[in-house]
Each structure stands twice: as structure tokens, then as C-alpha cells.
Amino acid sequence: MRFRPGTSGLALLAASSLVLTACSAGSLGSSSDSGSKGSVEITYLIGNQDQDIAEANQLIKDFTAKNPGITIKTETRPAGTEGDNIVKTRLSTGDMPDVFGYNTGSLFQAIAPQKNLVSINDQPYIGNLDDNFKKTVTADGQVYGVPVGGFMGGAVLYSIPVYQKLGLKVPKTWAEFMANNAKIKAQDPGVAPVIQTYGETWTSQLFVLGDFHNVSAVDPSFADDYTANKAKYATNPAALKGFEHTEAVHDAGYENKDFASAKLPDGLKMLATGKGAHYPNLSGVVANMVATYPDAAKTVGLFALPGDDASKNGLTLWTPGGLYIPKTTTGDKLDAAKKFLAFVASPDGCASQTAAGAPTGPYAVKGCTLGDDVPQAIKDMQPYLDKPGSSSLALEFLSPVKGPSLEQITVEVGSGIRKAKDGAARYDEDVKKQAQQLGLAGW
């Protein structure tokens, strides 16, 4: 038997590296500061949106620069309901990567955290997390996730040049808002008063979901009553407003002509180029818009969805997404994953996210700042957050009940296919299934 020198060298290398890794794996437990010898690789599952990927890559780059022993690989999944199914399936089959990003609030409750996730209650940084955020990642008194990204506002993005040209004032009530729309329509036929993009159905829900601050200002117990099956969208006059507003904008002919087929990028383009005046949306889309149209950082502002009472007007907030560790992550991978979470929940982690692109709003970690270079629309959120009682969390973070078909229903209401009252009643039916699936009392 004869070995060729090259092969035996390779074999030796392979064998010795095997021994080495075996050694380090056994000796781990305290920490992995011994450099390349104690290298651990973990996988991080994220959504496939550009912003998510940019953020994740920047976080990984900055984290591994400080922790040379750990490497992180990313894996992507689709967003929306398709992503929900992937997360649920991978959790239930024990196939979930070591760290994954997912929603907070009602969707977080639906992945059975007690059964599937590692609690991070004992971590030192827990005290630094924003209380509103913590509530949305807590199940049975245990905290399971850290925030990625900032708070988002569900609000109206508006074109500042259009407002200046026509001498309009930022509206505080729905009547003022509609008066502005009427003026825009009368004086500048080239500008669509309200941009709607039903080609991407989720964007149709903002008049309903973003109106929740106004609902809870009138009826503070709505969220609890809603969870207990006592309050309904169709019968609560404050809650019904959201559907009525969606309908009113269509009936008055304020929508852009191609509202039925336009998609999010079309809507952002109209807003950034001044072809549309108002675009009800999440402030999370601003980063995307600024990346494509740098001028929009200065020409697009934001105001909360107006309600009936100017004195109670305020902003509806979405909490950031969460980063979780599944129970299937163990040993040195678990240690590495916990370190990564600690980094993300630190001011360094926020700085890293800011470096990756415009933030969507304030961070949920104490000691994090946005910096001066944020777009105008995000700056406009700050006054609402600073004034007590001028912001509330969206309903989906206060109640586990959220029906899956709201976006189809609001498309119908906003296209004149269905009446507001009928749409609200239909949504109440839709919600029933979700509540029963979760096994809530009273349904």
C-alpha cells in the first residue's frame, strides 16, 4: 500500500482539525474568547425584505468583529402569512435555526412560546428593554425576545411640497383632513389626494389599524373587551370609523386612478415625486423610499391618522420585531446565540442597525439614540412619543385576536365593492376563528 504524499498530508490535516474541534467543543462552557480554536457557527433566520437583510448583515458584521470565535450564517424566509407557516412548521419539526426573527404581539403568542422558545428572563439586559416592547414578547411572565429595528408608526405620510404650494395645514381631525383633500383635488388635478396601493393588499389596512389610538382615546377598555368577545368593530361606533374612513376616501374619488393595481413602490414613487399628497402607511416604508429617492428624506413628513377630537389625536405604534432562540438550540450554540441577542439589545446593536439604513422610528432599548441624520417623517414621530397620552400600541399588540382577512376586506371597502358596516361585520366573523383557534375564553 502506498500513499501519495499530498493525500496523506491532507488526511493528517483533516484528522488533526477534527481532534482540535473535538477538544474545543469539550472544553467550552465558560466562554469562547480563545479565538479561532473555539469557533462556533450559528444560523440566523430572517425575513427576505431588503431592509431586513441589510440590517442583519450589518449586525452580524459588527458582532463577529467583537466576537471572533463566533460566525453567523443567515437564512431567509418569505414575509407575511407564508413566513408564518414556515416558522410554525420549522418549530414544530424541531428544524428551526439557532436564532430567528419573528413578529411580536398576537403572532408571537401563536407560536406557543412556552413550548418552543428559550426564556431570556435571567439576562442582565432585560431591564434595558422598553416596557411596551417587553409586554409584546412575554408569555406566562417570561420574556422571550429582544427587539430588532425600531418602533413603527401607523400614520399618514404626506408630501411637504404639495402642502406648501397649496398653503395647507397638518390636519388634526378627520374633517380637516377631508377638507385638505378637497382643496388638493380642486386646485391641482395632477396630484392624487390619497394614495392607495391595493396591488399589495396589506397596505389597504392602515385607515383601520392606524386609527386605533383614536379608538382607545374614546373607549380605553376596547382592547380588553375585544379580547373577551364583548366589543365588536361593527357595533362600536369609534372602531367602525376606520372602515368608514376607508370607504369615504373612495366614495369622494380621492384615490389615485390606478389604486386597484398599484403596488407599494408605485405609491412611494408618487409620494416622493409629489404626484400624491397623502399615503397612509407604516413608517417602516420610509427607509425604502429614502434609499430610492434621497430627496424624500426632506420632502416627506408624517402625521397621525386624524380622528374626531383634535385634543385627543395621537399616533398608533407598532413594536419592533423580535429575535428569539428556539428550544432546539443547545450547548455552545445556545451560548453564542445568547451573546448575539445581548449584542442586538445593546446601544452598540442599535448603532449597527442605524448604520444599515434609515431607522423606522425610535429604538426599544434604553440608551439608544437615532442620530441627527434621520428622515423628516421619522423626526415627526418624536413629538407624539414625547407627549404623554399621545401614542398607543396597535390593537394587535394589546389583544391576541387578529383576523387574517382584514386586508381583503379593506380592499373591498376601499374599492366600493362592500359597504363599511358590512365590511366591519365581516371582519368580526373573521376574528372569531382566530380566537377559537387560540382557545380564548368567551368565544
Binding site: K257, D258, S261, S405, I409, Q434, Q437
Partner: protein
């Protein structure tokens, strides 16, 4: 129709003969030992039998993938109360009937054309069949772009003629019909192929005899081609009706059941319930869909095939 009569009698004789033979001989001859069947039996059991019965069980539970709770027939009750379902059912039937009907008519006409003596017949045949080979999702996405109400090629071309076309996929009145039209475009090639095979197999003598008797071409078509391509018609109707009833991919690629719920079919309603995480409910929906398709196709197939024997 002697040939038809003979073929339908023969298997009947054989099937009568077999039980007699097995009754006579005490031991049935088996070419293989039982062990030989085991691998296939395992695969069949694991991949087909177990899931079928598991789905019947899960359709009776509230299932979150992590745990399931037995709730009896509640899922079926809920499924039938679903407001989208009524719309989904009517849309499914409309869609199936429209696509199936158009495929029969267009397929037959195209087949008559493509079996006549025309130039480049082979080329034209393959052109008609080509859309069948293209991926459904690809066709759906392409037509979504073409049918865009403002920027799509179709409405821009109509605009040149001075016609302002409707929002093919965004107008609730048109959405389902537009998708059905694309389905017909994509599927008519298969129907044509089946009809060509049926027409070509009609013996030349009938047509020659008819011509000697002075039959016009219309009479030849009506009295000879149409009745004798009945087996092809039956195949086309059944295949396209089953396809229409369980249609999903094209609708999902083009409208996702929208705008709103206006072009939802049963399969897309079920899919959305899966997406929403109502696993038990949507499994119940699949059981209902299975029963519906069986309830429509089984009697239809029996009815159409019985007529064939009478011929």
C-alpha cells in the same frame, strides 16, 4: 359500431370467467411471494394511507401544529358558515363550467381545422399545444403584466383603437372571467390534441360513403365527426372539469382571489385558511373539496360512459 360493441363485451366475459376459475382451483397461482410486495406496501401505507386517515382525524380537531384538540364536527360547521365559501363555491362552479365548456368547443373546432389539409399543419399543431408546456405560474405572472389596467399591453392596444379596456384583474366583474380566459388559452392545446386523436381514428370509409351519398361538409361534421368523437369529448369534459374544480395555481398567481374575495375559489379559500394557521379547519375544507369533486365527477363519468356503450 360493431368494433365498439366487441371491445365492451370482451372484458366482461373475462371478468366473469375469472371468479369461476379461482373457485375451481383451491390454490390461486401467485407469481411473487408476499415479501415481494412489502416495500411497495410500506411506501403506499406511509405516504398515502396514513396521511389520508390522519387528515380525516385532524379535520375533527383544532390543530395548531404544536397540539391538537378534538372538537368533533365543529370545523365542518365553521367551514360551511364561512361567508367566503358561498362565493368560493359559486366561483368554482362558474370557473369549471366556463373553462370546460370553452375547451370542448374551441378544442373541437381547432382539431377540425388542424386535421384538414392546410399548410404547415404540423407546425400549427405544435403551436396550439405549446402553452400547455409552459409553467402555470409563469403564464399567470405574464398575463398579470399584460392585463394591467394602466400599463398593460392589452389595454394599451385597445386604447390605440379608441376603446378603453376594463381593469381585467382589478374589476370585480371581470377578474374571474379574465383568469378563466387565460386558463382556456393555456389548456385548449390538450383538448385539441385529444380531439385530433379522436378525429383521426374515425375510419375514412364513413366519410367517403357519406360523400358518395352527397352529404355536405356540414352534414359530415354533424352526423359523423361529432358523434364519433364522443369518447374524446367525454375525456375532455372530465379532465377539464376536474381541473377547473380544483383550480388554484393560476388564480393564485393572477389575483390571489382578489380584488377582495371576488375571484376566490374553494381551493384558494382553503389555502388562505392554511396560511392563517387554521390547520384543522382547512383540513376539513380539503375533505369537503374531495367529497364535492367526487360527487360531481363520479355520476357524470358514469352517465357519459353509459351513453358510449349504447352507441
Amino acid at each position: 359500431m360493431r368494433s365498439v360493441a366487441i371491445t365492451s363485451v370482451k372484458p366482461r366475459e373475462r371478468s366473469k370467467a375469472r371468479p369461476a376459475a379461482s373457485a375451481a382451483g383451491s390454490k390461486v397461482y401467485r407469481p411473487y411471494s408476499n415479501w415481494f410486495y412489502l416495500p411497495t406496501a410500506i411506501i403506499y401505507g406511509v405516504l398515502f394511507l396514513v396521511p389520508t386517515f390522519a387528515s380525516l382525524y385532524f379535520s375533527l380537531t383544532r390543530w395548531s401544529l404544536f397540539e391538537s384538540k378534538f372538537i368533533g364536527l365543529d370545523n365542518f360547521k365553521l367551514f360551511f358558515q364561512e361567508p367566503a365559501l358561498v362565493k368560493g363555491f359559486t366561483n368554482t362552479l362558474i370557473y369549471a363550467v366556463i373553462t370546460s365548456g370553452s375547451k370542448v368547443v374551441l378544442g373541437l373546432l381547432l382539431a377540425v381545422l388542424l386535421t384538414s389539409q392546410i399548410v404547415a399543419r404540423g407546425y400549427l399543431r405544435s403551436v396550439v399545444f405549446f402553452p400547455v408546456l409552459v409553467s402555470t405560474i409563469g403564464v399567470g405572472l405574464t398575463f398579470t403584466v399584460l392585463m394591467n389596467p394602466e400599463k398593460g399591453l392589452i389595454n394599451e392596444s385597445l386604447g390605440l383603437l379608441g376603446i378603453s379596456g376594463p381593469g381585467w384583474l382589478t374589476d370585480p366583474k371581470w377578474a374571474l372571467l379574465s383568469v378563466a380566459a387565460v386558463d382556456v388559452w393555456k389548456g385548449v392545446g390538450l383538448a385539441t390534441l385529444i380531439y385530433i386523436a379522436g378525429i383521426v381514428s374515425i375510419p375514412r370509409e364513413y366519410i367517403e360513403a357519406a360523400r358518395v351519398d352527397g352529404a355536405t361538409s356540414w352534414q359530415q361534421f354533424w352526423r359523423i365527426v361529432l358523434p364519433l368523437s364522443r369518447p374524446a369529448t367525454v375525456t375532455v369534459i372530465i379532465l377539464s372539469l376536474i381541473g377547473g374544480l380544483r383550480s388554484f395555481d393560476l388564480i393564485w398567481a393572477m389575483t390571489r382571489g382578489g380584488p377582495g374575495f371576488t375571484s376566490d375559489v374553494i381551493a384558494s379559500v382553503i389555502y388562505k385558511q392554511y396560511q392563517a394557521g387554521f390547520y384543522g379547519l382547512s383540513t376539513a375544507g380539503n375533505v369537503v373539496l374531495f367529497i364535492t369533486v367526487t360527487a360531481i365527477i363520479l355520476p357524470l363519468s358514469w352517465f357519459l360512459n353509459r351513453k358510449e356503450v349504447d352507441l
